[in-house]
Amino acid sequence: MSRAAVTKKKVAAKPTAKSPAGTKPVYDKIRLPEVDTGAVVFCTDPLLVKERYTVDYLNSYAEDTPFFTGLAQGKLMGSECKRCGYRFATPRAYCMECGAETRWYELPLEGRVHTWTTCYFGSESFLKETPFNLALIEFDGVNTLLLTRLVGLTEKEIKVGMPVRAKFRRLAQFKPTDVYFIPKTKAGKAVA
C-alpha cells in the first residue's frame, strides 16, 4: 500500500512541472497491477523471506526402463555382463569392470541383509515415514547389492545376514520402492 502511494507521488511530481496547469498527464494512469499475495517474512533484520521453487520434470528412465516395468510385473531385473559375466543387482547398461554391454537377467526374490540402518530423521520427502529401515541386500550368485526398504522389523530385530524376501506393491508407482523386502518366514511364522 505504502509503496504504491510513493510511486504515485513520484510519477505525479515530475510531469506537473512540464504540463499546463489542470491537465493531467495520460501516463499517470500507467501502473503495475497490485497483488495481495504479500510475502512471508521470517525476520526483518536481515530481511528473510520465503521463496518457493518447484519443478515438474519429464524424467525418463531411458535404458533402465525394463527395471521399472519389471517391478510392476513382480520381477527384479539385474544386469549381467555379456563379456565377463559380472552380475550387478542394479540396472547398468555397461559393465563397470570390463566396459562391455550387459543383458537383463532376473534376480532371485530371496536374499540376505548385507547391511542395514534405521532412520529416525531424514530428508523432507521421507520425514513422515520415519522411522524406516534401509538395507542393502545380497543375493546368491550376484556380485553386487541392492538398496531397498526393509519392512516389518524394528531396529532391535534386524541382523546382518538374516534371510529376507522381496514383496512388490500391487499398484506400481514406477519407483524403486515398488519393491521392498520383508523377513523370510519359516513354516508360517514370522522370523523375530
Binding site: T117, Y120, F121
Partner: protein, 449 residues
C-alpha cells in the same frame, strides 16, 4: 630447487606452495552475510596474512561450492570472484560433493604445477542455512542416484550408517569407538577459536544424544553450516618473493568410486608400500565398509610425495570426519592403521593430539561444521597454520592444538595430510603439505622467543 620426480607423469610439474589462507568462522546459520561477503572476508584475511602479496600478482582463481540448490543461484562462482575483485582474470568452478573443497585446492595446484599460472586463489563457500535442515538433507541426498537410491529414502546419514554397520560386522567396531572420535575432535576444538562447537563431551553424552540413523547419533554427525575458506597457492618464484614461510605441496592424489554404493565390488585391497597382502586375506574390499577412493587418493599422494610409511612420515592429518564412522574408516584407507583396526586406533588414543599421529587437531568437521564447498579448504588453512607453526598467531595466542614434528625424522620438514571426501566415498582427495622452514616450525618458534 629440483622438481620432485617420483613418477614419470610428474616430471614436468613445477613445485607449488601455499602462501596464505583465511576462513570465516563457520556457523549453523549466518543470514546476515551473503556467500559473497563470506568469501570476501576469508579472502581479506588471507591477503592480510601475506602483506607483500599484491592483487596484481594474482593470476586467477578456482571456486568451489557444492550445490546450486543451496545458493538458489547458478554461476555463483563468478559472483564470489567479482566481489573479490579478481575479474577479469581466469576463473573456473569445480564441484565434487563433499570433496569439492579438496578438489578446488588440487585444481589450483594444477593451474600452477602445469606452468599455466603463477599465483591462484582457491575459494570455497556454502550457505546451507537458506533452507531448513530436512530440506538440506534432501539437497545433499540428491547427490545420490536420483532414480535408484534417493527415492528409497534418500538420506546421507542413513547411507553412512549402513556402511558402518557393515564395518562393525566385519571388524567388531563399536558405537563406543565411534563416540570416542566425537569426544576427541570436540576436545581438540575446545582450544580452537575458529570451531563452531565447543563441547566438553563424554562417550556417554554421544551415545545418549538423539539417534539419527542407527548407530549414528546427533553427536556422531557434523553440522550443515554457512562459511567460506580461501587458500592462495603460488609458484616457487612468487612464493619466494612474497612469503617468508611458505608451505610446499609435495604430493596430491585423488580417487573415485561408483555413485551407488550397492555397485561397489568385493575384491582385493590396493596395498600401500608398508602393507602386506597377508594382512587382508579373505577380506572382501571395499564392499560398503571401506572407501576405495580414499585408499586410491592416499596411495597416489604418498607415492608422489615419496612417503614410504604414513605412520612415520606424516606428522598430523586433517581428515573429512562428516561422521565419526567415516573418520575411523579413513584411518584405515590412509594406512594410519590396518583395515579393521580403526576402532582400536582411536580407542588407544593414537589419533589424539598427543598420540602417534594427531587426527583433526582443529576439531574437524564435527566441531567446526561442514559448509561443503569451504570444508576442504578450511582443512588446508588449518594445516597451513600448523606447518607454519602459526596456530597461536591465528588462535588468539592459544597454541594448545599446535602439533609438533615427530622426533628423529631426519632432515625433512614437518608434514601434514589433508583429506577431503564426497558422498559415500565417490570422490576423495588427499594432499600432502610440508613446512619449508629448515629447522621446522617448532624450533623457529623457540628462536622467536
Amino acid at each position: 630447487m629440483p622438481v620432485a620426480a617420483h613418477t614419470r607423469t610428474e616430471v614436468r610439474m613445477r613445485p607449488v606452495y601455499m602462501i596464505s589462507g583465511g576462513i570465516t568462522k563457520f556457523t549453523k546459520a549466518d543470514p546476515r552475510k551473503s556467500f559473497r561477503k563470506m568469501v570476501k572476508e576469508a579472502f581479506d584475511y588471507s591477503m592480510n596474512d601475506c602483506p607483500r602479496l599484491t592483487k596484481d600478482r594474482i593470476d586467477g582463481s578456482v571456486v568451489s561450492y557444492f550445490s546450486d540448490h543451496f545458493t538458489r543461484q547458478l554461476m555463483a562462482g563468478i559472483m564470489a570472484v567479482d566481489m573479490c575483485g579478481l575479474v577479469p582474470k581466469p576463473t573456473i568452478r569445480v564441484e565434487g560433493g563433499g570433496a569439492t573443497g579438496g578438489l578446488c585446492f588440487q585444481e589450483a595446484w594444477r593451474h600452477i604445477a602445469s606452468g599455466w599460472l603463477d599465483c591462484v586463489v582457491a575459494i570455497g563457500f556454502e550457505t546451507m542455512s537458506r533452507v531448513n535442515t530436512w530440506k538440506g538433507n534432501e539437497f545433499i541426498a540428491l547427490a545420490s542416484d536420483t532414480n535408484f537410491d534417493f527415492p528409497v529414502g534418500g538420506f546421507y546419514s542413513g547411507y553412512y550408517a549402513m556402511m558402518v554397520v557393515r564395518h562393525m560386522h566385519e571388524f567388531g567396531t563399536t558405537p563406543k569407538q565411534l563416540a570416542q572420535v566425537s569426544v576427541k575432535n570436540h576436545r581438540n576444538a575446545l582450544n580452537n577459536r575458529w570451531a563452531q562447537h565447543h563441547y566438553d563431551l563424554t562417550v556417554e553424552d554421544v551415545l545418549r544424544s538423539p539417534m539419527v540413523a542407527y548407530p549414528l547419533t546427533m553427536l556422531d554427525i557434523c553440522t550443515m553450516s554457512d562459511g567460506a575458506a580461501v587458500c592462495i597457492l603460488a609458484s616457487e618464484k612468487v612464493a619466494e618473493k612474497v612469503c617468508d614461510n611458505p608451505v610446499k605441496v609435495i604430493g596430491v592424489g585423488q580417487g573415485s568410486d561408483a555413485m551407488r554404493m550397492s555397485d561397489r565390488p568385493h575384491g582385493a585391497v590396493p596395498l600401500l608400500k608398508h602393507e602386506d597382502a597377508s594382512w587382508y586375506k579373505g577380506l572382501k574390499y571395499p564392499g560398503v565398509h571401506s572407501f576405495r577412493a580414499g585408499r586410491m587418493a592416499s596411495k597416489m599422494a604418498y607415492e608422489r610425495a615419496g612417503i614410504e610409511d604414513p605412520r612415520e612420515d606424516v606428522d598430523f592429518v586433517e581428515l573429512h570426519d562428516a561422521y565419526t564412522s567415516s573418520e575411523i574408516q579413513t584411518y584405515e584407507d590412509m594406512g594410519l592403521c590396518r583395515y579393521g583396526d580403526g576402532g582400536k586406533f582411536v580407542e588407544q588414543g593414537h589419533a589424539d593430539l598427543t598420540g602417534k599421529i594427531p587426527v583433526n587437531p582443529s576439531g574437524g568437521l564435527l566441531a567446526c561444521g561442514h559448509p561443503v564447498g569451504a570444508t576442504g579448504l578450511m582443512q588446508a588453512v588449518f594445516a597451513f597454520w600448523q606447518l607454519q607453526g602459526a596456530i597461536a598467531k591465528h588462535n588468539a595466542g592459544d597454541a594448545t592444538i599446535q602439533v609438533k614434528q615427530k622426533r628423529g625424522r631426519g632432515k625433512r620438514g614437518m608434514r601434514g595430510a589433508i583429506h577431503s571426501h564426497a558422498g559415500t566415498g565417490t570422490y576423495v582427495t588427499v594432499s600432502i603439505l610440508e613446512s619449508t622452514s629448515t629447522n621446522g616450525p617448532a624450533s623457529k618458534a623457540r628462536r622467536a622467543r
